[in-house]
Amino acid sequence: MNVASVVQSIEASGLAEWMRSNVKAMPIVEAIHVLCAVTVFGTILIVDLRLLGFPNLRRAFTRISDELLRLTWGAFVISVITGVIMFAPNANTYYGNWPFRLKMVALLGAGVNMAIFQFITLRSVATWDKDSRAPAAARAAGAASLLIWLTVIFLARWIGFTKGYNFAPAEDVNFSFE
């Protein structure tokens, strides 16, 4: 079983068929996807900036991250679910689309960066949690996370402009999608 045949069977699935036959479904799923994506980005931005020392070091890092973690993860899980639902009806197109592939690589990069931070860098957090500058590895993780998530958003928007439009627009409607 190769990737292409898996992609093929996703596109032939019941979920994919259902999405293709319900015109209201795609805008709703896309809107939820954007909503959750901006929530992931916005909450991670606060944590990343704190790692970089902005706006200050007075509030404990763990306090900031613990408070936001549930929101970040909840929004991320819904992003993945809505992402899969968006992917299914048009699986072959997405699979062959280079911004989509790069976005998946960027997401993988975000995961690796987070895992290294979580399991290695964070071990010493007690020494820099509050009122002292985070070590270089922690600052690097924050900067990398920020850049990766910005890249994810830019690539995500690029998919929409490169994959083609998958609904037949109604007559006399000018969809200026290029």
């Binding site: 901006v38 916005g42 958003i153 109604a170 200026s176």
Partner: protein, 169 residues
């Protein structure tokens, strides 16, 4: 409105935006990034009023931490949004979602300003718990921002979302 949008789409500035293919995707990306900043900033302020985040910090500190990000994000959002409208006036002006979004945006800005103005200066000791009214406004603000983001994406699908109510129809 349709005539105005058609005229605008033919103006040199609009034609220039349309002719450079990367401008609209780039502006949309920046627009979405700033929505993340504005939405989470106002969410943090609202959640502080509800006592769900930073309950140990005075409201003033939370406001001072997030309000500047919210206002500067709004400026970037307005500028990128304006150029997007200039580039695709027919797409925007003939979408019902666009007009509802603009109305909600005006409400969100006015209510956030009023909100910040009335709550700034509240200290932990003076007011450990916010009034039911303040909490209601906080929840309403979150709901309005969720709707604004939702409608932003729905602009691309006006007929699918609104059916016969769509201004495209």
């Amino acid at each position: 409105m349709r005539e105005f949008a058609e005229w605008l789409q033919g103006t040199p500035v609009s034609v220039m935006i349309q002719s450079i293919k990367w401008i609209i995707p780039l502006l949309q990306s920046i627009h979405i990034v700033t929505i993340g900043i504005v939405f989470i900033s106002s969410l943090m302020i609202a959640l502080r009023v509800l006592g769900r985040v930073r309950a140990d910090e005075p409201f003033n500190d939370v406001w001072r931490r997030f309000a500047p990000w919210m206002w500067s994000g709004l400026v970037v959002m307005a500028v990128t949004g304006l150029i997007l409208v200039l580039g695709e006036p027919i797409r925007e002006f003939t979408a019902l979602s666009f007009w509802i979004k603009m109305t909600l945006l005006a409400i969100a800005i006015v209510s956030t300003m009023a909100f910040g103005h009335s709550l700034r200066g509240t200290t932990l000791a003076a007011r450990p718990e916010f009034s039911a009214g303040a909490k209601t406004v906080a929840i309403a603000n979150i709901a309005i921002w969720l709707a604004i983001i939702f409608l932003g994406r729905a602009i691309a699908y006006d007929i699918e979302v609104w059916g016969s109510l769509s201004l495209h129809a």
